[in-house]
């Protein structure tokens, strides 16, 4: 806390001003977008009028959360190479989306993930399952971002105490609901685009400044980081964080699988593919996203090793044990150090970018989950498809308010949860509950309603139950309940077990069920998915 606290008061004014400008600009965009939002396709899918490049930026904006920016930079700064392992899984995962999901989803669905799952199945059970899993995944992810926001504000603005954290969470929650209710998908997409550009620009600036200090020689930067870390060459090798025991190695494998298979099942990412006019544009948006996200993760390497070398692990740990403030601390050093104007300005800029990042990501999550509530649960399950478009969009707006309220309340109580674990959990649930059903629905002719419902619930329940009985919740110092111990599952990430359960449940239930798949509907899905014939 020492390094930041000393200068927190100096830069607080600048940070607040910059962040205020971001909020004002994005609110302006939101109101403008809201005026153009007339029907359901506008509200849920931004009128399907975005280009591949715009949507690629927006996908990057949705994906590069504060957990990536602050979390990975911090993890690299403290654990060296093991922090880098995260970014590789996060990037490779995009190939699953590119090759198997983006185009067929764009062609065969309309507004939500459940549109694809329910295409040739019985509507109500499948939409209920998919809606529930969409909302669960999004709420885990929302909690991670909002709890993170509370902690960050306290640290970056030098405001201590629980009251500041609580007000931050409430303010972030209120703003995200405003973005979604007024701007719909069009407004939210532009917020993501603005944020992605700011984040890339901020990260690029810091990367150049770090590399300049080491004559643009990466080897020199690595050497300086290794010696400053106090761990020598081991800092640059795998194993510091995950190599301790057989269990931690298995945990790492579990995490790796969840990351690589989870992305293509994240609801707030999937709905992005509906904002473009064609499958080809959906492909282009993923190609842009892979380029942007890849370069971003390469730059976090420079930030992480730069923070290790220039700030040092002691100062980073003193500010935040998990290393979440490594990037802003690095900004202060790069600007000239604590107490200098340059340091205060760069720290303020990077802090404002971090807030913008959180705000944009939570808006995307709120939109995806409220869209699923309105389109899947309200319109098709509760009203059995008899709701008008107007009623559906109105219920989506109310759902956004309700989900915002739930997220605010849960975040206020979940202040102690480890944000990285929550994000990894969201990926594990998405990979276990959503991805198997999506793949079976698109590519397996014989797949049935029973298979779809079983796969979603088995993946969802197994991943959540395994986490409840894991060291994340009890039995370890870092647990949610450190004093209790009812854990029997040794791994922090459930993916290694729950993802196979999701796949197996869908397969077995299909073979055992008496449902007959409808060959005509599968032919329709197949033709539509591959050619776009009849797509929205």
């Amino acid at each position: 806390m020492t390094l930041l606290a000393s200068s927190a008061t100096e830069h607080r004014g600048i940070t607040m001003t910059l962040f205020g400008l971001f909020v004002l600009a994005t609110l302006g965009i939101t109101v403008w977008a809201g005026r153009q939002t007339k029907d359901a396709a506008d509200f849920y899918a931004g009128g399907r009028g975005f280009t591949g490049f715009q949507n690629g930026l927006a996908i990057s904006g949705d994906y590069m959360s504060a957990a990536s920016f602050l979390g990975i930079a911090g993890a690299i700064a403290l654990s060296g190479y093991d922090g880098f392992l995260y970014s590789i899984g996060f990037l490779v995962a995009w190939l699953v989306a590119l090759l198997l999901i983006a185009e067929p989803l764009r062609n065969s669905g309309r507004f939500t993930m459940a549109d694809v799952l329910a295409f040739r199945m019985r509507q109500r059970p499948v939409r209920t399952a998919a809606g529930v899993s969409t909302i669960v995944v999004s709420i885990f992810y929302l909690l991670a971002q909002m709890v993170g926001a509370g902690t960050l504000v306290a640290l970056l603005l030098g405001v201590n105490g629980d009251a500041a954290k609580r007000w931050t969470i409430v303010a972030v929650g209120a703003l995200m609901v405003v973005y979604v209710v007024i701007g719909g998908m069009k407004g939210t997409t532009w917020v993501q685009i603005v944020k992605a550009v700011l984040l890339i620009a901020g990260t690029a600036l810091m990367t150049v400044l770090v590399l300049a200090k080491y004559h643009f020689n990466p080897s020199e930067l690595l050497g300086a980081a290794a010696s400053a870390s106090g761990k020598g060459a081991a800092f640059l090798e795998p194993g510091l964080k995950y190599g301790a025991s057989d269990t931690s190695k298995l945990d790492f494998i579990s995490l790796g699988i969840a990351l690589v298979l989870g992305t293509a099942g994240l609801p707030h990412i999937l709905v992005r593919f509906y904002t473009v006019p064609t499958a080809k544009a959906a492909r282009k948006s993923v190609l842009w996203a892979i380029g942007i996200i890849g370069v971003f993760y390469l730059m976090t390497l420079a930030l992480g090793f730069g923070a290790a070398a220039l700030v040092g692990p002691k100062a980073i740990k003193a500010a935040n044990a998990a290393g979440n403030t490594a990037a802003p601390q690095l900004a202060e050093v790069l600007g000239g150090g604590a107490g200098t104007t340059g340091g205060a300005i760069l720290l303020a800029v990077i802090s404002a970018v971090a807030f913008a990042t959180i705000l944009a990501v939570v808006a995307g999550l709120t939109l995806a989950s409220s869209a699923s509530f309105a389109h899947d649960l309200y319109a098709n399950v509760i009203r059995r498809g008899k709701a008008t478009e107007k009623e559906e969009v109105r219920s989506a707006k109310w759902a956004a308010v309700a989900i915002g309220a739930v997220a605010i309340v849960l975040s206020l109580f979940a202040g102690k949860l480890n944000t990285a674990a929550l994000v990894a959990l969201a990926f594990a649930v998405a990979a276990s509950a959503n991805l198997p059903t999506l793949l079976y629905s698109l590519f397996w002719k014989r797949f049935t309603t029973s298979g779809a419902v079983s796969s979603v619930y088995a993946g969802l329940i197994s991943s959540v139950v395994l986490v409840v009985f894991s060291p994340v919740v009890s039995g370890a110092k870092t647990s949610l309940f450190p004093d209790a111990d009812f854990h029997w599952f040794p791994l922090e990430n459930p993916g290694l077990v729950s993802i196979p359960i999701g796949f197996l449940a869908g397969w077995i239930a299909t073979l055992l069920s008496k449902d007959r798949p409808d060959p005509a509907k599968y032919a329709e899905l197949e033709v539509r998915a591959l050619t776009g014939l009849g797509a929205h």
Partner: protein
């Protein structure tokens, strides 16, 4: 039922599904997407397993402070970019033209006016 009536009758869709053109298109798509997916997932898993169980190999120095682990990690980035570019080229040649031909032959060129928005 949420999905709106599609412009061609179900029977016609089944005929398309059975047609030689569509089967070729499906084969072109699957014969690329499925093996490549298996390939990059295995390549990624190999990297994860090496990180866990082959510390000696991963720690070996290549140039200066750059070791095998870092080179392999960066190679994952390189292969991801390369596969993405490869698929983009492949889809342009082998998937988009036959898909467009099928759309046009069956009169439901739903996206024609919007195609320019790409």
């Amino acid at each position: 039922m949420d999905s709106p009536p599609i412009t061609t009758a179900p029977t016609e869709v089944q005929l398309i599904d059975d047609s030689e053109e569509f089967r070729t298109l499906r084969r072109s798509f699957r014969s690329f997407a499925f093996p490549v997916t298996i390939g990059f997932v295995l390549w990624y898993l190999l990297y994860v397993l090496l990180s866990c169980y082959a510390p000696g190999l991963m720690g070996a120095k290549v140039v200066g402070h750059i070791n095998v682990a870092l080179v392999l990690g960066l190679l994952q980035f390189v292969t991801t970019f390369a596969i993405a570019a490869w698929y983009a080229r492949y889809a342009d040649r082998r998937i988009d033209p036959p898909a467009a031909a099928i759309r046009e032959a069956h009169g439901a060129v739903v996206h024609a006016p919007r195609e320019s928005a790409e």
